[in-house]
């Protein structure tokens, strides 16, 4: 059992709570930085996809995991980021400006959605976000001069300071660095008053208000930041798939993002990252499964969304804290062995008033 001796309040502010964390995260960091050296292009590409998903999921995590506003339309922010970025590139705007502008554009749209949405709760908000995604898809289809409509749009490889990035491993590093920066940003949110107010709003709006938290403002800020991060992921995704068409950013992607953060573990940064890896794995397994199943089932068009939906529901019912939550329980078990109390994590239902992780 690890007993932490705290000598300084800064210890609770730090990203890594103790030296064990430092070691494992350093190892992880080394692994992701060295990965392209040992993996072939196919796997580097797959890893890049996972990192982009992780970034998009991180954005969704801010709004859904932290403030409890369930969005079923986050693929739309990816679309806005992707198309804005791709369009700006065709206009000759350099990559390093175009990408932040794309993220900002997505953020501004998020802000416009958030202001009415912050007054909605639960299912209404979710339905509204779904409707929003459909509207965005329609706009993408019909605004042909910018988006190419149903014909789609080719995205050129990114160029950094005149240097064109063609290789998979080069792009992998671009994505990795941006993901790490976004993670640092979100961790900063979590350790400052803003992040605490977000969690407060999620768990109990009345007591948040009674403590002086402006609920609507907090929700709107979360939406803005969330849309920016997911929009950034969209911009990166544009180069990754190299060709944008409206159906790329459909409801399936939105469900996938939601599935990711639920399976990974709502309310934590770990959850978004874990979730992205798990979804990457799941996608790979489904495509293998498809080949194994009899064609009558394997070629059903609804197979993927159906499976994703099923897994989502199962997790919400049986493991609402996701894989990361399960891991924390397991780690606590190891650390406190043999003193582990079976009900350490059991919620005391009788006292429970504010189970509102919507």
């Amino acid at each position: 059992m690890r007993v932490l001796f705290k000598t300084d309040y800064n210890q609770d502010i730090k990203f890594a709570k103790h030296s064990g964390y430092v070691f494992w995260y350093a190892l992880l960091l080394a692994a992701v930085f060295l990965a392209p050296a040992v993996l072939d292009t196919y796997w580097v590409n797959e890893l890049t996809r996972v990192l982009i998903y992780a970034l998009a999921g991180l954005g969704l995590m801010v709004v859904t995991g932290f403030t409890g506003q369930v969005s079923l339309g986050h693929a739309a922010f990816m679309a806005i980021g992707a198309y804005t970025h791709a369009f700006l590139l065709t206009q000759g705007v350099p990559f390093i400006f175009s990408l932040p502008i794309a993220a900002l554009t997505s953020g501004v749209v998020g802000l416009m959605i958030a202001i009415p949405a912050s007054r909605m709760t639960g299912l209404y908000l979710t339905i509204a976000s779904l409707a929003f995604a459909i509207v965005v898809e329609d706009v993408v289809i019909h605004w042909e001069s910018v988006t190419g409509g149903n014909r789609g749009m080719v995205v050129d490889p990114p160029a950094l300071f005149g240097y064109e990035i063609f290789e998979a491993w080069e792009y992998y590093y671009v994505v990795l660095v941006l993901l790490i920066m976004a993670i640092a940003l979100v961790l900063n949110i979590l350790r400052s008053p803003l992040g605490r107010s977000m969690l407060a709003v999620r768990d109990s709006e009345v007591s948040a208000q009674s403590l002086g938290i402006r609920v609507a403002r907090t929700k709107v800020l979360a939406f803005l930041l969330s849309a920016m991060i997911t929009g950034l992921a969209g911009g990166l995704f544009a180069h990754f798939i190299q060709f944008l068409s409206p159906e790329t950013f459909g409801i399936l992607l939105s469900i996938q993002l939601l599935l990711m953060i639920v399976v990974g573990g709502l309310g934590t940064v770990h959850g978004a990252i874990f979730g992205a890896f798990l979804i990457g794995l799941l996608e790979a397994s489904i495509s293998i499964l498809k080949d194994l199943l009899p064609p009558a089932i394997g070629t059903q068009p609804g197979l993927e969304p159906g499976l994703f939906g099923l897994i989502l529901v199962l997790f919400i019912i049986f493991e609402p804290e996701g894989v990361y939550g399960r891991w924390v329980k397991f780690r606590t078990f190891l650390e406190s062995f043999p003193f582990y109390r079976r009900n350490t994590f059991k919620r005391q239902r009788s006292y429970l008033k504010t189970e509102r992780m919507r």
Binding site: N188, P193, R196, S207, S210, G212, Y351, K353
Partner: protein
């Protein structure tokens, strides 16, 4: 001018007059207690003070200013903090985080600086932490500092909710049944803390409570409410012996 007063406050839910023309005034430094049978309208008065409900009639005044129409999130800034009858803590956060959220009104840093967590933000966070640690010491919560609320027993949660309200550093503290669900020792401790809050921290307390031993111990003045109406006011003893109060508790009409 009184420190805090409500005047002719009324509110109905559908046909039910939850609060009916209720008035009282309390002075700074007092512990003022509202008693009354279930459904008397006590919590409804608190919820109107918190601006969760808007009264249909009447005014709420704090230090002379009319705060009836203040927004719910302005009440804490004005100087009034509260606890809830059915504990409203942030279940998925730790005790420390819950208490830090109590510091919200003392945060003035722009969002952009928080995103980058510059040295100024860190300094402010450390200052909040020291304040929170004072409250942790005061309520003897050190043992639970890093526990998640969901893992803690009821009595401890009540203490944490009290602690969170203290982190606001209010001038007036509203306690909705601070002793409900506590065992006799915990109730006794609660009594000591309320005394300390009044005497050492200089915070005035407006309290709803059913436990008469606690009411007798800490209250400077007591008011009894029944069917939304004030039926008696005075010392704890006077109110308990008032014929209307006895009748109300025996289930008769006041």
């Amino acid at each position: 001018m009184s420190f805090f007063e409500i005047e002719n406050l009324s509110l109905s839910f559908g046909g039910v007059k939850a609060v009916d023309d209720a008035s009282f005034a309390m002075e700074k430094g007092e512990v003022f207690t509202i008693v009354g049978p279930n459904g008397a309208g006590k919590s409804t008065i608190f919820n109107m003070i918190s601006s969760f409900y808007a009264p249909s009639h009447g005014t709420i005044r704090f230090k002379g200013a009319d705060i009836t129409d203040a927004r719910a999130d302005e009440i804490a800034r004005i100087g009034i903090a509260r606890t809830f009858q059915n504990i409203e803590l942030f279940e998925h956060s730790t005790v420390l985080q819950n208490l830090l959220i109590g510091r919200e009104i003392h945060n003035r840093l722009p969002v952009l600086r928080q995103l980058f967590f510059d040295p100024g933000v860190r300094r402010a966070e450390l200052a909040h932490r020291r304040k929170v640690e004072d409250v942790i010491d005061f309520l003897e919560l050190a043992h639970y500092r890093d526990e998640r609320i969901a893992n803690l027993p009821y009595g401890v949660r009540k203490k944490i909710e009290l602690g969170r309200a203290l982190c606001v550093e209010p001038e007036l503290l509203l306690l909705d049944e601070p002793a409900s669900g506590l065992n006799p020792e915990e109730t006794e401790d609660m009594g000591f803390w309320i005394d300390d809050i009044k005497n050492d921290l200089g915070i005035s307390v407006l309290m709803i409570e059913h436990d008469m031993s606690l009411v007798n111990e800490v209250s400077d003045r007591v008011m009894a409410l029944n069917n939304g109406r004030v039926i008696a006011e005075g010392s704890a003893q006077e109110v308990q012996n008032h014929p209307d109060v006895v009748a109300a508790y025996l289930g008769g009409a006041a």
